[in-house]
Symmetry: C2
Subunit: 374 residues, 2 copies
């Protein structure tokens, strides 16, 4: 028995939870920087609610809305410079994984001078700006993790800053911001959360607590799968009601709490190349690979795979693989040169070392090949 649990973020859940708890911002600071993307936080009402809450407690704010998908190192340095120039003393990140991951790095870089060469080292002081997070997708879990995952062009992949400093102080979960997400975003983000929960159970750091949360998260996501399949068949996206959006958001929360304890494993290791080089959405990339990896685990550690499959009401990994194929639709093309390159890169990551079943470079090649077979 050797394990840890730590997740100090205060999570507030519910309809209008931001405007109903505006006094919580007073404990964070006197001037806020809203970190977000160009559009979605404006469209779904979350940015407006944050502004209303800040105005209610007389906190001035600025907006940095330049965060792109898979945010770059340059983007977070730009945000941090903007924060410093304007003397903001706390960060409010609003959006999917990208603004939240960027928000964490900005909170760190605005509080400390860290050179780019040192950014992923973990070797720095213990200052960070307080953070409030508002997830507007149900997948990343970034609102309750200590990870900021950035596009790292030098390493040609996505690399994470991992530090307990990066846990947000408070997170607001209001499912109405996710109500108008399109079907492919809904599916891709749900699969990202599912991948977090499954990979958490496959991590060498899995514990009683993380497994309890992972099983519950898997069950909740699987309960929403019939609606996803129905939406795919009918071509209508109007099959998700608010209740289901709440379920997906809470499942994503729990899956985030899981990876805050366990980290991710081989699936994320392989997926990062697909996102970096082929621009495949992060959740989709995980989904493309998750089935084959679970089939490998089923061979080597059948009991472990069995516990995960039981939470899905499946008896074998092949059933899960079939379901993922239905959800993901037509697959991208991948060349043998790409497979060669990505396998080499993935096999050297720490995510592989973090997996109970550690695939070899050869295993990874096989999984990548089978994952894209048509």
């Amino acid at each position: 028995m050797k394990n840890k649990y730590y997740m100090p973020t205060r999570v507030i859940i519910g309809d209008d939870c931001i405007t109903k708890n505006s006094e919580l911002f007073l404990a964070l600071g006197k001037k806020a920087l809203l970190v977000t993307g160009a559009q979605s936080a404006k469209r779904n009402g979350s940015e407006k609610d944050v502004k209303t809450a800040l105005e209610a407690v007389d906190i001035p704010y600025l907006v940095f809305d330049k965060v792109m998908s898979n945010p770059t190192i340059a983007c977070v340095y730009e945000g941090a410079a903007f924060a410093k120039e304007n003397g903001v003393d706390f960060i409010i990140a609003i959006g999917g994984g990208s603004p939240m991951d960027a928000g964490k790095a900005i909170a760190l870089l605005a509080a400390q001078d860290i050179e780019e060469g040192n950014l992923f080292s973990g070797n720095y002081g213990n200052k960070v700006l307080p953070m409030a997070f508002v997830p507007t997708t149900a997948g990343t879990g970034s609102e309750v993790t200590q990870y900021s995952i950035l596009t790292n062009d030098k390493a040609q992949t996505k690399t994470s800053i991992a530090s307990d400093l990066l846990f947000p102080t408070v997170t607001f979960l209001d499912a109405k911001y996710t109500e108008h997400l399109g079907l492919s975003t809904t599916i891709n983000t749900a699969i990202d959360a599912l991948s977090h929960a499954v990979e958490g159970m496959l991590s060498v750091k899995a514990s009683s607590v993380s497994n309890a949360l992972a099983v519950a998260s898997i069950r909740m996501i699987m309960n929403c799968v019939p609606n996803m399949l129905q939406a795919l068949q009918s071509g209508s996206e109007r099959v998700f009601n608010l209740k289901q959006r709440e379920q997906l958001l809470q499942a994503s929360l729990m899956a985030g709490m899981v990876i805050a304890q366990t980290g991710t494993t081989a699936v994320h290791a392989m997926g990062y190349s697909l996102t970096y080089f082929k621009h495949i959405d992060h959740g989709r990339a995980n989904g493309l690979l998750l089935g084959e990896y679970l089939k490998l685990v089923e061979k080597v550690e059948p009991d472990l795979a069995g516990r995960i499959l039981a939470a899905m009401n499946f008896s074998e990994a092949e059933q899960f693989q079939v379901l993922l194929s239905q959800l993901l639709g037509e697959k991208e093309e991948i060349s043998s040169a790409e497979i060669e390159q990505y396998s080499k890169q993935a096999s050297q990551t720490k995510n592989i070392a973090n997996s109970v079943v550690k695939p070899t470079e050869e295993d990874i090649k096989t999984m990548l090949t089978l994952s894209f077979a048509k």
Copy 2:
């Protein structure tokens, strides 16, 4: 959907986790007060390990080992005065629920001047001494909650201070300290944890997260029940191995995380009188009442009771009641005057208001009567 999650304590789990992580004490302060009972922390090795760890990092310490079972208000004021006089700046509580609950109140009272009349009000500043906790029983969950439950002679019951200030900074879980617990303590504390998990699911504040942890906790405790029954039958206490002790300690941890979110319900409301007036052990008191309360819930909210019973692999509450009777053995005597008095008192507690199924004073009378029927 309206809920919260907050549990900022860092939990470290594993064999020798205190001595292996002695550097964690350096972040807490420069001079420690060990808060414990007179004997058990000395016998089970936990106090020695804490001292070894403190000596390894050159932190001086004092010991306050006057905490009795169901600690009094006088005891915690005495401990706080001792802490102030000696200029300690952090608290290490070692033991079962009593030293941990006392440790929290001492940490609060050593950092702030709070008059006794104001102690349970929650109206005070936001200072508290940092705390490290070492549970040596597997039941209370106090190591991960914001509650300090004290014997309140004015109110003739146990009353809790509830404040986010009271979450320990760090908690060390090493199951070897629980290895030599006697059978009745093992059973009573396990039932206390079980009661926390079950009551968490019966609380109006139950959430996806708390339910996930509660179900896992219930399953783990129920897995240890056959050994408890075997020990009762054989008269030998040597049926629990370290693996089972670890399971019970982690189940208790998760149940503590549950009530940190949900609070407790009608069972604790009724149990406090049994402990205050009749000196029945706290876990045992809950166990005596839990079966009858779940039977009431089964009538009013059958689906809710069904989810709890499913985690126990039972189909009806009567089966659980029978099991509790086996575990608890011969019951105490209770008079109708006592039932009258305790029912009145319990019906006015906030724990009742916190229950999905809110028993009337009449319901409570019936439950108390049936719980002690022979």
